[in-house]
Amino acid sequence: MNLKEQTLDTLRGLLDTKKISAPELCGEYIKRIKEINPEVLGYITVTEDEAMKSAEQAQKLIDSGEAKPLTGIPLAIKDNICTDGIKTTCASKMLEDFVPPYDACVIEKLKAEGYVILGKTSMDEFAMGGSTQTSTFAKTKNPYDLTRVPGGSSGGSAAVVSAGIAPAALGSDTGGSIRQPSSFCGVTGIKPTYGRVSRYGLIAFASSLDQIGPIANSARDCGTLLNVIAGKDSRDATSSTKPAEDFNAKIGQSIEGMKIALPKEFYSDSTDDEVKTSVLAAAKKYEEMGAQLVDCSISSLKYAVAAYYLVSSAEAASNLSRFDGIKYGLRGEGRTFDEMIRDSRTRGFGDEVKRRILLGNYALSSGYYDAYYLKALALKQQIIKEYDEVFQKADIILTPTAPTVAYKIGEQETDPVKMYLADICTVTVNIASLPAISTTCGYSANNMPIGMSLIGRKFDEATLIQAADAFEAGFEKRPNNI
């Protein structure tokens, strides 16, 4: 069976018509994971026994006519989402042996559907990075070119979907961590509106920005997954009470008359020409479909990277203070309580995580708080205001997902400032709590995927999925050679 670019709809059809059983389908994926993962390094943990067990249970549901949209569907889960009884490492030495005693809310919801867990995917350590090269356990490679990064931080999730070793996956997005790797690996990923999906059981990085979301082979598949994981959860006070809806309900509806804004700052000299050309060609396609293109400006974009790193690092410094080696995590040594905690953290965290903690504590410390942290919050308010203004004259916004295509491993991920600046196209969406979807809109001269992002109004994921699907329907994807 060819597992590359399989959609969830196709797999559902195969399972429901008994052309394949859930254990057979699971077995096909496990077999391919064993062949491909040693090259791609997308998984940190492969849960073969757990997968086969849940596939057999799923088959019983299918046989009794009780199948739900994800019953028997194999999925991969980012390794910062807690899974009861399955190691959840955050790709960090700190949590190398951590086995959560409970499931994240999204995992409970997937289990209620009868999904099949294939394994836990690699990521940048504690989701801090854009290359998946800060992972302690699996420095994932890009399936389109194994000498290039898959993006990050959900690089493992994007790579396993792209390589056909999972039909879809869950990632998390704090500043672009679903969208940018989706762009680099030629798949589709959606960062839902802040509050759309419960963060209960997601190991916290920056709580005001983190959001779990799907990565898949199509916008429709992202909608299918989002239909399951969205919704209010009393254990996450920031989850929204907005009623559940069918995020795929608008697929197939005409986009004639839809207003699509193109903020000029996203198309500046800092974005590669071939990226700009592909995204603007996609805009032209939308115009041909009857959409109206609208010029606009997000003038505060030039300050957005700094504002994002100040806010996210301040929150990270606070969130990561829980890692002291006492109740769980790497236990250091020391004669005193303080020595033991310092040794645990020094040995447990990698360089980038330490830099973010230092930056966060710098921004929050006496004498710097007003100049940095409060200024970043002022910028957050300005960015929200500017997006509100754009959405008064447009329905969605179209931008590149990243200024470049996937770069060579070792080329820039050792330069923190260069890495931070590369997040320019994605961070404002998290700052403004908006939903955004990235899908492939072209290929570079060296055949690397180019992603475009559609940004929507709060809680309007359905329109993003409608517009992304409309584009995907007329776009010919180039598969990778994995």
Partner: protein, 92 residues
């Protein structure tokens, strides 16, 4: 960014660096702070009355006791002694 500031930040962050490590991270943090300094060009003051981050108390969950996670599961992530977390002596 000077060595004194780095040492202060290491204390706040509960992190140890060797002398060589301190020099390296000081250089990296200097470049990062230069990037962060761009926010200072932005001439707007934070207005906390405009923030929309409040959580309605009507939406928070009921304050009701629920069973704990199983103790053996919680303790499986550490090296307990007599069902207790072990820490270095804090008071002589």
């Amino acid at each position: 960014m000077d060595i004194k500031t780095i040492e202060h930040l290491c204390n706040l962050s509960k992190l140890n660096y060797t002398d060589e490590g301190k020099q390296k991270v000081m250089a990296e943090m200097s470049e990062i702070i230069n990037l962060m300094d761009t926010v200072k060009e932005f001439d707007v003051v934070y207005d906390d009355t405009k923030d929309n981050n409040s959580i309605s108390y009507a939406e928070v969950r009921e304050d009701k006791a629920k069973p704990s996670f199983p103790t053996e599961k919680l303790l499986s992530n550490t090296k307990p002694s007599d069902n207790c977390y072990v820490v270095p002596k804090m008071v002589d």
